[in-house]
């Protein structure tokens, strides 16, 4: 039985989240199947990337601020957090997190409510947690650097206008920090999306063959002994994704720089940061 391409799309476009055909293709391995299934896996890359970046942004701001604190009780933990997550490979962090989550007691009672913990060992929760903490650490370093490079004149001008404390921070320091850090943060976002491909190759197993784009590409390469089709398809999807991220973050960058004359605006340049 051969499926038409449209039937393949219907059967496999949402396979990575468990909708459609229960079994992965066993024969043919047509181009259509490969494009559909790998594209289906991209849903997970988007899920991990978008959620980790969104939550990570807030934590990163908090940690960057904590690093500027004068009290060592606030500063030191923030410094250690950044050091641990930036100084060790993401690959090891995934393994470590998985092993730690597996050792959690399966069920425990808290204030009379039964809480089950087995879901934390699933990639959608456990790997998301690791990616969230990881991107928070990398972004915090970027924002901390940006906070330190705010021009002295800007801060003096703010004080001259009578702005102090929280008002000075929210009106002057925070927007300037974002503006200065944004090009680097854009790169962080791109490479976080790239890092999501590591999830199913580290400690976290793919449940019922629901995996990300690279998981399915690897599946096809294993079955067909031909790496020259599935991997370029992943590459194609990721180039599209990178362009999309660059465009979206570029729009934000334009807004952050809108008060400046055009020759002083920060331009976003791609800087490689690959494996973490």
């Amino acid at each position: 039985m051969t499926m038409t391409c449209w039937e393949t799309v219907q059967g496999y476009a949402l396979r990575s989240i468990g909708i459609g055909e229960p079994l992965l293709p066993k024969s043919d391995f047509t181009l259509c199947q490969q494009f559909t299934l790998i594209g289906s896996g991209l849903i997970w890359n988007l899920y991990f990337g978008i959620l980790a970046l969104t939550f990570g942004f807030f934590l990163a701001n908090a940690i960057a601020l904590a690093r500027t604190a004068r009290s060592p009780w606030v500063r030191k933990p923030a410094e250690w957090f950044v050091f641990v997550f930036r100084g060790s490979p993401l690959f090891i962090q995934f393994f470590l997190a998985y092993e730690a989550l597996v050792l959690l007691p399966k069920e425990f009672t808290l204030f009379g409510a039964e809480i089950s913990t087995s879901w934390t060992t699933r990639a959608w929760a456990g790997a998301l947690l690791v990616l969230f903490l990881n991107t928070a650490a990398y972004s915090a370093e970027i924002f901390f650097g940006a906070l330190k490079s705010i021009p002295k004149g800007d801060l003096e001008a703010a004080e001259a206008y009578g702005l102090t404390g929280w008002k000075k921070f929210i009106r002057i320091e925070w927007p300037t920090m974002l503006r200065l850090g944004w090009p680097a943060y854009t790169n962080e976002a791109i490479f976080l999306f790239h890092a999501t491909t590591l999830v199913y190759f580290s400690g976290f197993p793919a449940f019922q063959q629901k995996g990300d784009a690279l998981y399915y590409a690897n599946f096809f390469a294993d079955k067909t002994f031909n790496p020259f089709i599935p991997y370029p398809i992943v590459a194609f999807y990721f180039i599209l994704l990178t362009l999309l991220v660059t465009t979206l973050y570029g729009l934000v960058n334009r807004r952050l720089n809108r008060h400046l004359p055009s020759n002083q605006r920060q331009k976003i340049r791609l800087r490689p940061n690959l494996v973490r």
Binding site: P89, F91, A217, P227, Y231, R276
Partner: protein, 293 residues
């Protein structure tokens, strides 16, 4: 290994811990750290050389060469590097076997790619099916090194290309005004001056390279991640040293190893930057000059 460890079931406490940590499997584990260091020691210069070639090609005045250099530099952007790792290992392997096949078995009539199979003549298998396990190991390691060198070479090329562009243009024009040829300008003026501009990027790349070494595990090399999983997994009473699931502790150990390694590298790179900044027309060089005065 030691006499006291002859019967592991009979000993306990510190002796047990000592015997456990010196078992044959653990000694293999310690050696695998050397595999990681060897990979770094071979890959770093190889990637640097590839990067230098790539950057030089991208600056070339011959359009096809410059185009090839630029494609190589842009290659790893936009695409997750792990895709390249998975791709190159199979692609290189097949390329090597295909080439050997063409040389060793020119009379072979069957197609190499038939349906879902990739089949070369038995004599063209690399390594040969009858080769000892160590040859297979070394071949796997070799493939990993080449893959790392290609991927990291592209990143190094990116850094070096930027550094070459950062050398003040007036310096090159002055050299040309003195009558130096293109090659002389490149060798005498451009290359010696670009390092200080390349160092931050290369330092960053070195850290990334360290953190990329666990990927050896994905390429099928028996590295530290492999042994951590093997040794940490729970062992029943049939094993000499039964224990529960200790993988968490083994991975914690690896984490500490990597943290220490990156921290030491950071300090080393900081010192190197200071040294290279001496007498340079950069902000760091200026600061050093002022501090001395």
């Amino acid at each position: 290994m030691f006499d006291a460890c002859a019967d592991p079931k009979a000993i306990e406490g510190l002796t047990w811990a000592f015997c456990y940590l010196t078992s044959a499997k653990h000694v293999d584990f310690y050696w695998s750290f050397l595999t990681v260091l060897a990979l770094l020691a071979i890959t770093a210069p190889a990637a640097l050389a590839m990067g230098f070639l790539g950057a030089t090609a991208a600056r070339s005045h011959i359009p096809p060469v410059s185009f090839a250099g630029k494609v190589y530099i842009w290659m790893v952007r936009g695409v997750p590097d792990i895709v390249f790792f998975l791709f190159f290992v199979i692609a290189l392997d097949q390329a090597i076997e295909w080439t050997t096949h063409q040389i060793v078995c020119p009379d072979w009539t069957e197609p190499i790619r038939k349906g879902l199979e990739f089949r070369v003549c038995p004599e063209a298998k690399v390594p040969l099916a009858k080769s000892p396990a160590i040859v297979h190991q070394i071949y796997g390691f070799f493939l990993a090194v080449v893959t790392f060198a290609i991927v990291f070479g592209a990143f190094a090329a990116n850094v070096i290309y930027g550094a070459m562009n950062a050398v003040p243009h007036a310096q090159l024009e002055t050299a040309e005004a003195y009558g130096m040829s293109r090659a002389q300008v490149f060798r005498r003026i451009l290359v010696p001056q670009m390092w200080v501009y390349a160092l931050p990027g290369l330092g960053n790349l070195w850290m990334i390279l360290i953190k990329a070494t666990p990927l050896l595990f994905l390429l099928g090399v028996k590295d530290i991640v492999y042994y951590a999983r093997e040794l940490g997994g729970s062992k029943t009473q049939v094993y000499e040293y039964p224990h529960g699931d200790w993988r968490l502790w083994y991975f914690l150990g690896l984490m500490v190893f990597y943290l220490a390694f990156t921290r030491l590298s950071e300090i080393g790179i900081g010192r190197l930057t200071r040294r290279l900044s001496h007498g340079q027309a950069t902000a760091a060089g200026e600061a050093l000059r002022k501090a001395a005065a």
